[in-house]
């Protein structure tokens, strides 16, 4: 804190010199010199006091900090004079730093930060790759996991869990549907978590008959029970069973949300909220099949300290080969590849689906940041050159280069610092918004927080912004020749100098490059989203509503009771005024693939079966979704006990080729089903994949507990209360999970794509605006600097059109080069984009043309204003000023 000491040092010096004078005067008096004369003599002996002080001060030297602060004060004074410019810079930086910080917080909280469990690096997730199912790895068969547990040494523990929807009621109120986790009792031992209140699960909780206990997540405790500590020991009803709450999990325990750790990757989860309810699962290994039960359970394990993931994986794969031969009846030569297991660090498993999106957004936002900085550099350059005379004078008087450099940087630093702080505040506000909006499809949403890492990142960005926007102009100014400046009077020599305009051209080009790249990528995403929405879906979501309900287990244990319930609801729905058709389906459309079954021809047992999604439907379902019939017929009332099936076109093709499958028999769900119809392929499971092969059976056979009703009618919004009433009339025990329009279900299933496109659109808009501002700024500046030259040209007969051309050309070349480079770069980077895009190739000539057209239009608009000013220069006036 040297600069604070300067004042006291001045005082000390004064005191020191005064004592010297006193002593000298005293000495002279002792020698007999008269008092007044002695004082003067002492003074004379000391010499010029002011000069001495100056000299001493020079000896102290200027400390670095003092200089830095002097320049910052200077910068602040300058900013007050140009408050409009300062506000623009701060606003730009706030937006750029705010956006970057917000996106980085997401990257940090979701991808980088370790999971909230103890020693989370030791946690792994296990998958099985089942050859006959093809495609992605799925959650393993718990019966296999049990063998791993018995026979390997690499894990301290392995636990399995199942995601579920439970109808939950805390009292006599109507049951609500909440997400729940059914887990082996040792799940919390694997995650090494201690309860906040009560206890967590013990081995005996997994014994049939003793499993009516539940543990609440902290947020569940807060939302469902207002954080009431007396909740321990209370009995609630879950799926109409009495269940005792035994414990509360701590607030920092964040179980991976349902959209982040899925047993079956193709399944889409529409809710991202963490499950509030944990219940023990009774693991009946004896009753499980050796082959099957894939993709239902998720298995997490904790590696022993020192055990490597590869080692553990090879151990369990050894067991897999044995099981394949001994228990699954697989030929020994195929055993090695039939069902392989793989392990993945839990952190990677949780974040993998959102990783590419987030990194991609990060790249986009940094691009935006770069554009903003280039813009600021450009603006600062203009101002710095305008201050050139001041700098030239200081150089001529012998100012140190580094001081002038710092002088140029100080203003950028002050502005960046303000922008940085307000950017962080903006980011905090945006993140609060994100964390509280349930439709954002990100895992670990509850863990999103600004932390030290993020603040460091914001600080680094601020410094980078300072350097990028301040260093260029500052370096240019100190390189300027002071003599030329001072002689030129106004410094005209430097305004129009070749190197100055070259730098400007580079900056404009760089900005065009960044802007074009962002714009192109955004348009690709927009086109992809548009494609998803407008492609041939094979069904019609308009004018239909979906009610997703959960039939509780106990009261509806008898299959006939479920059939009766479904029929009652359908009757009620069809009786509603304005309803055209209503149908039942076992799985909500657009919720991804599920109920994977094998479909095999009865007449060709040697032929491999195909994998299909099994769906239970009622008559009226196809009419309600408006799926197209290709051959045969849809379900009718007479199919009730007939074991009939409707299959999708692709499934028919795969099994029967071009022959008609109508009337043929196929093994499905353990029975021979007769194919009565072929329905056109549709994207009913997901808009983002190829149409899945589907086999539909009549709901009366093995009626499932999960139920969705699809209702088509005029004015579907007005039907909602009636639909709700129809369900409740049929049974008060049934919880309605979701009631929404089919269109809403469709947009929800595209939440991630919509978010990406929305964010990118805002980035691209900002980038385009910044680029326009940059071009406008540079051209206005050049026009002002070249006013006299333009005047001379006009006096010599240059037409207005020629002046326009002259001005536009200043920006035209760099913009065009930047445009080309941007288009080329996007084409190169296309490969990385491919996995985000649907129905659009990364190199799309139409999109490229549109990008070019949009950008050139924007650049022209930005350039036109300065060009008009140039063309309206009055030659007489311009020449008179010369």
């Amino acid at each position: 804190m040297k600069w604070l000491r300067r004042k006291s040092r001045e005082d000390e010096l004064e005191r020191e010199l005064q004592t010297h004078l006193q002593l000298e005067a005293e000495e002279l008096r002792e020698r007999g010199v008269p008092s007044a004369e002695a004082r003067y003599a002492a003074r004379r002996a000391l010499g010029n006091i002011t000069a001495t002080k100056e000299e001493v001060r020079r000896m102290w030297g200027w400390s670095l900090l003092e200089v830095l602060f002097a320049e910052i004060r200077y910068a602040l004074r300058n900013m007050r004079k140009n408050s409009g410019f300062a506000a623009l810079v701060v606003l730009t930086l706030t937006l750029a730093i705010g956006a970057s910080t917000a996106v980085f917080t997401l990257v940090d909280s979701v991808l980088l930060k370790p999971l909230s469990f103890r020693e989370s690096g030791q946690l792994v997730v296990a998958w099985e790759h089942v050859r006959f199912m093809g495609g992605d790895p799925v959650g393993p068969n718990p019966k296999h996991v049990e063998e791993w547990r018995k026979r390997t040494s690499a894990f301290t523990a392995l636990a399995s869990f199942l995601r579920w929807q439970s109808a939950f009621a805390s009292g006599p109120d109507r049951p609500r549907l909440t997400g729940s986790v059914l887990c082996s009792p040792n799940l919390f031992d694997v995650l090494e978590v201690q309860p906040l209140l009560g206890r967590l699960f013990q081995p005996r909780d997994g014994v049939k008959g003793q499993d009516n206990v539940a543990v609440l997540s902290h947020s569940g405790w807060r939302t469902l029970f207002d954080s009431d500590p007396r909740v321990i020991g209370r009995t609630i009803r879950v799926d109409d069973n009495p269940v005792e709450i035994v414990g509360i999990l701590p607030p920092d325990f964040h179980f991976p949300a349902p959209n982040s750790l899925r047993a079956f990757v193709q399944t889409q989860a529409s809710a991202a909220a963490e499950e509030p309810l944990f219940m023990p699962a009774v693991m009946d290994y004896a009753g499980m099949e050796w082959a099957g039960n894939y993709g239902n359970w998720v298995t997490v394990g904790r590696l022993k300290p020192g055990a490597s993931i590869r080692e553990a994986e090879s151990q369990i794969n050894g067991i897999q080969r044995q099981l394949a031969v001994e228990s699954m009846g697989i030929r020994p030569d195929q055993a090695a590849t039939a069902v392989t297991a793989l392990l993945q660090p839990m952190q990677a498993a949780v974040s993998e689906t959102s990783g590419p999106t987030l990194w991609f957004l990060m790249a986009a936002v940094l691009g935006l940041m770069l554009i903003a900085c280039v813009n600021l550099a450009n603006a600062q350059l203009g101002r710095a050159l305008a201050r050139g005379r001041d700098v030239a004078l200081r150089t001529a008087l012998g100012a140190a280069k580094w001081r002038l450099l710092w002088n140029g940087l100080a203003e950028s630093l002050v502005l960046s610092a303000i922008g940085g702080v307000s950017g962080v505040l903006l980011a905090a506000a945006v993140l609060r918004l994100i964390a509280s909006s349930p439709s954002i499809d990100l895992p670990r949403l509850a863990e999103i927080r600004l932390n030290g890492n993020v603040l460091l990142f914001a600080a680094a960005l601020t410094i980078a912004a300072t350097l990028l926007s301040g260093l260029f102009p500052a370096l240019r100014v100190i390189r300027a020749d002071p003599q030329a400046f001072l002689q030129g009077g106004g410094g005209r020599t430097s305004y129009g100098s070749a190197s100055g305009s070259r730098l400007r051209s580079w900056l404009i080009g760089l900005q065009a490059f960044g802007g074009v790249t962002l714009l192109l990528v955004t348009l690709l995403f927009a086109k992809s989203l548009f494609h998803l929405l407008t492609q041939d879906k094979g069904f019609d979501p308009r004018g239909a509503a979906i009610a997703v309900v959960k039939i509780p287990g106990k009261p509806f244990e008898a299959p006939q009771s479920r059939v009766d319930f479904i029929e009652t609801v359908l009757r009620g729905l069809r009786a509603l005024p304005g309803v055209e058709s209503a149908g039942f389906v076992s799985r909500t459309p657009l919720d991804g693939e599920s109920w994977i079954e094998s479909l095999q021809r009865v007449d060709r047992p040697e032929m491999d079966g195909i994998i299909v999604n099994a769906r239970w439907v009622s008559p009226g379902y196809f009419e309600a979704t408006r799926q197209r019939l290709i051959a045969g017929r849809f379900f009718e009332e007479r199919d009730r006990n007939l074991d009939s099936a409707v299959i999708s076109e692709a499934a028919a093709k795969a099994l029967w080729g071009n022959a008609s499958p109508i009337g043929m028999q196929a093994h499905l769900l353990g029975r021979k089903q007769t194919v009565i119809g072929v329905v056109a392929d549709s994207r009913i499971t997901s808009l983002k994949t190829k149409p899945a092969k589907v086999a539909y059976v009549h709901y009366q056979y093995r009626t499932p507990y999960s139920a969705s009703f699809i209702v088509r009618g005029a004015a579907v919004d007005g039907l909602m209360p009636g639909i709700r009433q129809a369900v409740w009339n049929a049974s008060p025990l049934v919880a309605i999970a979701r009631l929404k329009t089919f269109d809403a279900q469709l947009t929800d299933s595209l939440a991630r794509e919509r978010l990406q496109t929305l964010v990118l659109t805002s980035f691209a808009t900002a980038a385009l605006l910044l680029a326009m501002l940059g071009i406008h700024g540079v051209l206005s500046y050049l026009v002002a600097a070249r006013k006299q030259e333009i005047g001379v040209r006009m006096a010599l007969g240059a037409s207005k059109a020629r002046v326009y051309r002259l001005t536009l050309a200043q920006a035209g070349t760099p913009v065009c080069i930047g445009l080309m480079a941007g288009l080329a770069a996007s084409a190169f980077a296309g490969g990385a984009l491919r996995k985000f895009l649907y129905g659009v190739e990364p190199v799309d000539p139409a999109v490229m043309a549109l990008t070019a057209a949009l950008f050139i239009a924007a650049a022209t608009v930005a350039a036109l204003l300065p060009a008009r000013r140039a063309a309206s220069v009055d030659p007489i006036e311009a020449l008179r000023a010369e």
């Binding site: 000390e12 010096l13 005191r15 020191e16 010199l17 004592t19 010297h20 002593l23 000298e24 000495e27 004379r44 002996a45 000391l46 010499g47 010029n48 006091i49 000069a51 001495t52 000299e55 001493v56 020079r58 000896m59 102290w60 030297g61």
Partner: protein, 118 residues
């Protein structure tokens, strides 16, 4: 007093630092004492410009060769002086300056009063 300056010697550039350091080897002293000591030791032959003494002191302090502290002078507790004292670094510097000075004077002497080679 202009007469005085004629029979007094202007200090050589850089020697003041050495003289200050040498003075302080006898113990802490304030600015006035240092000036007087140099003057008296040379029978007033070397007139230290008081004006150049203080910048030199501050320079030496900045370089870390001497330290400074405000202390009362002897019994008179009411009056404080800024006492300078030699630091270990200053002691080392003094030795270096001394040997340099010896080399310089002997070199100059050899030219001024050459000794006949025997």
């Amino acid at each position: 007093m202009p007469k005085e300056s004629t029979d007094r010697i202007q200090l050589l550039q850089g020697t003041l630092d050495m003289l200050i350091l040498r003075t302080l080897i006898q113990g802490p002293a304030h600015g006035h004492q240092i000036a007087k000591h140099i003057q008296r030791s040379t029978d007033d032959l070397l007139q230290v410009e008081h004006g150049s003494l203080y910048p030199a002191l501050h320079r030496l302090e900045r370089k870390g060769w001497i330290g400074a502290k405000w202390e009362p002078a002897g019994k008179d507790l009411k009056r404080e002086f800024k006492y300078y004292r030699l630091t270990p670094a200053g002691r080392k510097q003094l030795r270096a300056e001394e040997s340099k000075w010896k080399m310089l004077t002997s070199a100059v002497a050899r030219i001024m009063w050459p000794v006949e080679e025997s």
